[in-house]
Symmetry: C2
Amino acid sequence: MKTAVLGYGTVGKGVYEMLRSAKDLEQGPVLVRKGKADEPWKTDDFDAVLADDSLNAVAEAIGGIDPAFDYAMKTLKAGKHFVTANKALVAEKGSELQAAADESGAAFLFSAACGGGVPLLHNLALSQRGDGILKVSGILNGTTNYMLDRMQRFGTDYEAALKMAQEMGYAEADPSADVSGLDALRKVILAAGTAFGILPSGGLHEGIESFTAEDIRFYQSKGLVLRLIAQTERTAGGVSCFTEPVLFPDNAPEAAVLENNNLASYEGRCCGKISLMGQGAGRYPTASALIRDLESVLSGERRMFPEGLKQAEADHDSVKRRYLVRLPEEAKEQLPCDEVQGKEGAYLRILTGAIPVNRMHEAARKIREKGGRIAFAALEE
Amino acid sequence: MKTAVLGYGTVGKGVYEMLRSAKDLEQGPVLVRKGKADEPWKTDDFDAVLADDSLNAVAEAIGGIDPAFDYAMKTLKAGKHFVTANKALVAEKGSELQAAADESGAAFLFSAACGGGVPLLHNLALSQRGDGILKVSGILNGTTNYMLDRMQRFGTDYEAALKMAQEMGYAEADPSADVSGLDALRKVILAAGTAFGILPSGGLHEGIESFTAEDIRFYQSKGLVLRLIAQTERTAGGVSCFTEPVLFPDNAPEAAVLENNNLASYEGRCCGKISLMGQGAGRYPTASALIRDLESVLSGERRMFPEGLKQAEADHDSVKRRYLVRLPEEAKEQLPCDEVQGKEGAYLRILTGAIPVNRMHEAARKIREKGGRIAFAALEE
């Protein structure tokens, strides 16, 4: 199956290399930016790539919506298979792309967009068909897990942990999508689409930017380990979808996920809880996921999203949790306090009663608007 | 896809039930023992089941070689798809069944035979195609993990832990296949076939029968947790394949696998190490794996074993490990002792140098032949 590669960055290079050694796959041209086609197998003309009748598939590793969306639609409309590692593209334009794929009969697969080497979406798609999925959750961002692990095991402070993540090549120069939880939110939107046939909009994301070395020490004194968790589940009101920090007992499997690893779990109606762990990102893990999708196309796979994919507003009223919160003493009234756990200067540490997820995120937004500093994490119970 | 179910025990019942609610699957007849067909949808006549032209597939949940092998061959030769949870059947007769499937073009899938709800074989098959797999290992027997977990966390002795496993329905009345490591060995043989295209014969298995509550306490004093690990990897001499007890640091992911859960890991050339965790057995996890295989058939999957499947003698000379051994003092000379770690009556606890796996298993066999009691576990390093 002759496959063109869009983009020649970290992942694109890996895919092009792996295409050479894969048994049933064949290297097509590599699309690069205008004027950068400095090798005979590189090109900057997408339409010429697509015009080649011998081309069967396109693997996209450019990132972003524009021009990736345009290339994707043209590929699928031409009846050629499209596999991608681009989570923003699929989270935002998934319905349109799936519709185009359905019309032409081409495959549209994106397991590389969530979990890198960890085959979460692929397994969700498979389990969804015969079983039915109730909930998906996990550590879906390797950069922030690396940082939290540093802070946890080595007492590193936030800024130093971020710098180390950048030096290791895990964090971008602009790390905001990672540390704000947006990256993990996009991934769990894809998981919701694959597991439930619903692409939720209006998902909430709280990241790890508010945590200090002191917070981590406080959690450790209680036997708790902090992780950034993305989660989606069927609720009374539809489907919830959010990312937030969560505290786990130090003997929980999540606490044993170190470095930049991912851990994703799903609960099937019949298969019970299944967890997948591995390296969430990096050239070869992500490239291998794109190759895996191409191999799946050869085995007959055509889709990850179930038929009848819909978009819907996420429901955050029905999921209730207790939160351990550090907040300015004068903001205390904004949350139902179950127990004051400590006082540090003008700040209190409180444990809330069980409150809806959106109430917690909203309270934090309001406190920050007034210039207050707040950090919160749900208790895994 | 109309699917007959062979057997109406724990798993067969679950499959029949799940077939009703799966979207693209249809309940066919259920084959039961002669004279036991007490419902119109049950039958004791296999040839009549197969003679029905509208039948597309057979899901086998009888167990054992005879008559399962006969039914499997007839099914595949008739060009109907065959999915099974029967590890003994596939470990022993996998090559013949694959050849029959190749000839007729029918699907032959068996992901339910290893890991129950945990989709290990399915993911191995997928990764093997585009990536290449170096090693597969893990906790593949839920019964023994339940027992070791009891011994570890509650100080239960071996006999009491076995009785509890039987009461919970995890262990059979005759638990020998589980506690001797044979069950896990059969599973890892299937993993080797799927990952490497080689079905190894002559695999070694050491189980958990030799361990006492005192052994577990000794390991705990060293910060170590005992697990039963099945493993296969590419070696200088081909492929290794064995089951043996292994000691992990108490913060390792394996130490966090509690109750009757499984944890299976594989290392891809490109995807890195990926781990899968979940319930390894039970009605619904195993039934859901059979249903998942049927759904995969509908998506176009036809095989788990790669093309050109071979049988070969396992290689145990090239894998070397250090072992923590409790043995009679007079048997000490039979193993290269690196360090004596303790003395209890007539027994020594020693740490060996790095020795080949088969040398350790062979030494234990000889010591036991002479009536000596020995327990050994490899150090995960």
